[in-house]
């Protein structure tokens, strides 16, 4: 990895820009208690609906306040924890479950592969939001139920990706060579094949985080995600809906936050793909 990393970091801005953006949001989420100027849950009703500071508002509330007098900036900062956290947790669970099932399906094939395939087809028939709405209606809303709903559908993509890769790699000679050295089936999967397909999973996972953030925000916007007063960007957009003409900043800033973070994640994913895909590693590699 060391040789390639140095060569490739200079290759393009995609990775760097993406990484920087995501890092900023990640740091913000981690350090929320230190960064946010105010408590995101309590507002001063006397100071509700203040505009951002450059429009005549107060320096205490840089991005203004919402209908309950809560600081928009603080809610934005704390909301990063929620939104980013939802996306990360959902993607991580989906990746973990999907990869494990994909390896099993690709390696052993047979009836298990068939069963998983049919299950995948079934799940893929539903649009994400409809499916998530169904799950939440059945199980109730809330942070963990939301994650469950999101990952319950997302694991399928990882399973398919990993299964396809395992099937392809299974045929390659290095697998036979490893077998000939004394490795067992599970050992070959874990030590030989997985490192070769891991980059694909990582790239997909990064991409999915962005998608799940949007999905979570959409559900919260509809009132089905995290419940108030927990700050979540999608819910904040919804809260600001009634004030679109008078206090536009209430919906705009959380919306912008979603856009920028997801864009950053997409760029990061693209950059990782270029960095890690063996086809880009060296011209002249047969793969």
């Amino acid at each position: 990895m060391g040789v390639r990393l140095k060569d490739r970091l200079g290759a393009g801005p995609t990775l760097v820009v993406g990484a920087v953006v995501v890092a900023i949001f990640a740091l913000d989420a981690l350090l929320a208690p230190l960064v946010a100027p105010h408590d995101p849950l309590h507002g001063e009703l006397a100071r509700r609906l203040l505009p951002p500071v450059w429009m005549g508002g107060s320096a205490d509330y840089l991005l203004g306040t919402d209908g309950l007098g809560r600081d928009v900036l603080s809610r934005l900062v704390w909301g990063a924890r929620v939104s980013f956290g939802l996306g990360l947790a959902g993607a991580a669970i989906a990746a973990g479950v999907g990869t494990a099932l994909g390896m099993v399906a690709g390696w052993w094939e047979g009836w298990l592969d068939g069963l998983l395939g049919r299950l995948a087809d079934f799940l893929l028939a539903f649009p994400m939001l409809i499916f998530a709405i169904g799950v939440i209606t059945a199980l109730g809303s809330g942070f963990w139920n939301l994650i469950l709903a999101l990952s319950l559908k997302s694991w399928v993509e990882f399973m398919r990706l990993v299964r396809g890769q395992v099937l392809a790699h299974k045929q390659l000679v290095y697998v036979d060579a490893a077998h000939a050295l004394g490795r067992s089936g599970a050992g070959i999967l874990a030590w030989e094949i997985l490192p070769n397909i891991f980059h694909g999973v990582l790239v997909l996972a990064t991409l999915r985080v962005g998608y799940l953030i949007i999905a979570a925000a959409s559900l919260s916007f509809l009132g089905l995600g995290v419940q108030p007063p927990t700050p979540e960007w999608g819910a904040m957009v919804n809260d600001g809906r009634n004030f679109m003409l008078s206090a536009w900043w209430l919906s705009t800033f959380p919306g912008l936050a979603i856009v920028v973070l997801v864009l950053g994640l997409n760029l990061l994913s693209e950059g990782l793909h270029e960095l890690l895909d063996p086809r880009f590693r060296d011209p002249g590699i047969p793969r």
């Binding site: 040789v3 000679v173 290095y174 036979d176 060579a177 000939a180 004394g182 030989e192 490192p195 063996p278």
Partner: protein, 320 residues
């Protein structure tokens, strides 16, 4: 006997038996499709899906390998019997450094403890196989090495656990001639210095005659002749072997090549009974296709699956 699992009556390997003595290099010669690679794979229980050993036995120091439990086989593979495949580029995992792959057998069979120990051992092995700058090579990836160096690295991987028997499946076919010679010399050194037996599978009779102690010739899934190199090359008893020798172009001579007429039969074309070579043989007799033919002794240690040998243990027909 190796054929499709499930018993469709098309056998790929039959009438095959040979013995490898400790420290000996046995050459397994044959053309494409005769089943030499399958023979090696069946020794280690590595037959592809869909093929199974239907009858027969493989014994290592008296221990039966066919049907042995997977655990026992995993302990043997790499540790007591190692196999080197044909195409080094594809055999090496492209995502791992050479050092990690050579050390893999050490880790699987728990022969070295700790990164320091593994690293030192790997450097020793890379030096043994003649790789320049072993320390540097350890951290390189397979695609950064030339074909010859990759094959050396593969040999190091195979030798790591100190096997008694090395199965080499056309190890030099994918390499240039000069590199070929180097790799063969390396294998000869391995044989001499470690006392490791080698089964060399190749279609290159000339190569085999230079490096092997004994040779077994295969045709269509059967061994048709076996003996010392001298006997096989100078006094070939089976018409197929004679034909093969006649096919070899000779340096310095400009004479017409004499190919063997006809074509190698596909597995379902092979005669169920009798000599598989009979349809192409100039000397065939009525009885050649009527019954199973055993290996008949021509001279001491030199045997051929041919009725002509049974009738007169001197070779018939013009050798080269």
């Amino acid at each position: 006997m190796v054929g499709p699992a499930g018993g469709r009556p098309v056998l790929l390997l039959r009438s095959l038996s040979f013995v490898v003595e400790p420290g000996e290099i046995l050459g397994l010669i044959g053309e494409s499709g005769c089943g030499k690679s399958l023979t090696l794979l069946s020794v280690l229980g590595l037959l592809p899906r869909g093929l199974a050993v239907q009858a027969g036995s493989v014994r290592l120091d008296g221990m039966e390998l066919i049907g042995a439990p997977q655990r026992a086989m995993a302990a043997i593979r790499g540790r007591r019997v190692a196999i080197i495949f044909q195409d080094p580029q594809n055999c090496l995992n492209p995502s791992f450094t050479i050092g990690r792959q050579v050390g893999e057998a050490l880790c699987i069979h728990k022969l070295a403890r700790g990164r320091r120990a593994v690293r030192d051992r790997v450097v020793e092995l890379l030096t043994e196989v003649g790789l320049p700058d072993p320390e540097g090579c350890m951290d390189r990836f397979p695609h950064q090495l030339s074909g010859g160096m990759q094959q050396r690295a593969l040999i190091a991987t195979a030798l790591a656990a100190g096997p008694q028997l090395l199965l080499a499946d056309e190890p030099t076919t994918a390499l240039d001639v000069s590199v070929q010679a180097q790799i063969m010399e390396l294998l000869r050194d391995v044989n001499r210095q470690r006392g490791c037996s080698i089964v060399l599978v190749t279609h290159d009779l000339a190569l085999a005659s230079q490096f092997c102690d004994r040779i077994a010739v295969m045709y269509a899934g059967q061994i048709v002749e076996e003996g010392s190199v001298a006997n096989i090359v100078h006094r070939p008893a089976h018409p197929y072997t004679q034909g093969l020798l006649a096919c070899l172009p000779m340096l310095g001579r400009r004479q017409q090549l004499r190919p063997i007429p006809g074509e190698i039969p596909t597995p379902d074309e092979v005669l169920a009974v009798g000599c598989a070579f009979a349809p192409r043989c100039r000397h065939r007799l009525q009885e050649c296709t009527s019954a199973h033919i055993e290996l008949h002794e021509a001279t001491d240690g030199h045997r051929a699956r041919c009725l002509l040998v049974r009738h007169s243990p001197q070779p018939v027909g013009p050798p080269t």
